[in-house]
């Protein structure tokens, strides 16, 4: 029963993972990826890892919502429900993806996998807690410090104010064709602050 559910969830995780790069809208892609993560979380719950499984669901719901916010913020077709296909080096990517999956799959199939399931009476959650704050304290603390460094790095990288002036100073959109003039709306007259080379008598 549990095995059948796990297999169904594995298939669902792979299918929703595949949908991520096949759906029209980036929001659909984001939440398709979230479904893939949620199925992996559910597999964790079924395979006696309740904390890992539920924490995956929690974390991925938050992460994918952040993704969604960035999708709407940066996409040319914001919450878009229009068809789109934005890919490059497509054949190479397909070959690389298929090779990676086949290689790993062959490795799985040719290995004799050990069978040693988690004993039924194990209190896995408190085991994990004691491991985190016991023998593996150093690893746990390292992860904590890494996350702190990440937070500082993310704030520094994304801040507009900086030691060497504004981050968006002299910012220009890329050209529509390589090396072409900047795309987008050109500010008219003195309205835009990029156009300091305009000289009108009155100013």
């Amino acid at each position: 029963m549990i095995d059948a559910l796990v297999i169904l969830l594995v298939l669902f995780a792979a299918w929703t993972g595949w949908r991520v790069f096949r759906v029209d809208s980036m929001i659909r892609a984001t939440f398709s990826l979230m479904l893939s993560f949620i199925s992996v979380g559910a597999i964790g719950v079924l395979l006696s890892a309740p904390y890992i499984g539920v924490a995956t669901v929690f974390m991925m719901a938050v992460e994918m919502m952040v993704m969604g916010i960035f999708m709407v913020m940066f996409m040319m077709n914001p919450a878009g429900l229009n068809p789109m296909m934005m890919v490059h080096q497509h054949k190479l990517s397909i070959v690389a993806g298929v090779l990676a999956a086949l290689g790993l799959g062959a490795a799985v199939l040719t290995t004799t996998l050990p069978t040693d399931p988690v004993p039924g009476e194990t209190d896995v959650v408190s085991d994990l807690g004691h491991e985190l704050l016991g023998p593996s304290m150093l690893i746990f603390e390292t992860a904590g410090v890494t996350l702190l460094a990440t937070m500082i790095g993310a704030v520094v990288l994304s801040s507009r104010r900086g030691r060497y002036g504004q981050a968006d100073e002299g910012s220009r959109p890329p050209g529509l064709d390589p090396g072409g003039p900047p795309a987008g709306r050109q500010p008219e007259g003195e309205g835009g602050h990029h156009h300091h080379h305009h000289h009108h008598g009155g100013h």
């Binding site: 939440f31 919502m65 916010i69």
Partner: protein, 302 residues
């Protein structure tokens, strides 16, 4: 047998609680000098909404438009399923109850976002977008408050958190917890100062294009989430089903109703600020405050 009974209890708690919440919503104006309506008004309003025709927007995401209210309701039910109705009697007895509730909170933001995104219309999308931006930082105080409650219990399960309050309730030990958690509840139920999703200033936000059964279900789901949130808050801070004389479920219902009334009163009484100012308040005031709360609770639990 017990499972069937618990399923029934959960469903009726959600249904009766949703009606009670809707009535509280109509009583709340009394507090602020308005006029109240009777206990049947929410039922009439719900029936009227069910009879109205559905609005179809241009090129919507039909699946999510139909499903979003269902997700919201399902998350309310899932959140309530880990709450014990009597000591040790939750529908889903799990060692990671507060993480399950946290997942329901995070997925609620996703459900509200999908509800606003799917009609493919401007006001719903604005509501969804600014709600997601406000809702995500609200998750942080929520987690710290719940972890603080887990410290004296030495467990992540709600049953253990209830047991840890036999001597003294968490509201006494951790006085900052309930006010911080109330903000989470206002966010989850799209109310008052945290209602950036369905607010009147953007013509009803994510519900602007809703009509008919979908709208009725969405409003019902909001009320169901109010019940679930209040039950979780009552369990975490007011000892849940603990209490003299009366049986456990009755105590839980009384405490849940009290938190619901408090949430509704705050929701009707506190004004909403702009999203950008609220974002600053969340990151600069509430997040450090919840750190302090966690620190104090941790030291006290030693």
């Amino acid at each position: 047998m017990t499972t069937a009974l618990l399923v029934l209890t959960l469903a009726s708690t959600l249904a009766v609680g949703a009606w009670l919440g809707a009535w509280f919503d109509r009583l709340a104006p009394l507090l602020y000098g308005g006029r109240a309506a009777g206990p049947l008004a929410p039922l009439r309003a719900g029936a009227a909404a069910l009879l109205r025709p559905r609005i179809e927007t241009e090129a919507p995401d039909r699946m999510n438009a139909r499903l979003a209210p269902g997700w919201y309701l399902a998350l309310a039910a899932a959140g309530l399923s880990v709450v014990p109705f009597a000591p040790g009697a939750a529908l889903i007895e799990t060692p990671v109850g507060i993480v399950v509730w946290g997942s329901c909170e995070a997925l609620t933001i996703v459900a509200v976002f999908l509800h606003g995104w799917s009609p493919n219309a401007p006001f719903p999308l604005i509501g969804a977008y600014r709600y997601a931006a406000i809702g995500l930082p609200v998750m942080l105080p929520s987690m710290f408050v719940l972890i603080a409650a887990a410290l004296p219990a030495e467990s992540l399960s709600f049953t253990a958190i209830v047991e840890s309050q036999r001597e003294v309730w968490n509201i006494v030990r951790q006085p900052l917890g309930l006010p911080l958690f109330l903000i989470v509840g206002l966010t989850l139920t799209l109310r008052g100062p945290m209602d950036f999703a369905d607010a009147a200033d953007i013509a009803g936000g994510t519900s602007a294009e809703d009509s008919g059964p979908g709208r009725a279900l969405w409003q019902g789901a909001r009320l169901a989430m109010l019940v679930s949130f209040s039950a979780v808050a009552a369990t975490t801070f007011l000892g849940g089903p603990l209490g003299p004389a009366l049986p456990g479920p009755v105590w839980l219902w009384i405490k849940t109703a009290a938190i619901m009334a408090l949430t509704v009163a705050v929701g009707h009484g506190v004004a909403r600020t702009t999203p950008s100012r609220m974002l600053t308040i969340l990151w600069v005031v509430l997040l450090p405050l919840s750190f302090v709360h966690l620190l104090v609770s941790g030291v006290l639990a030693l």
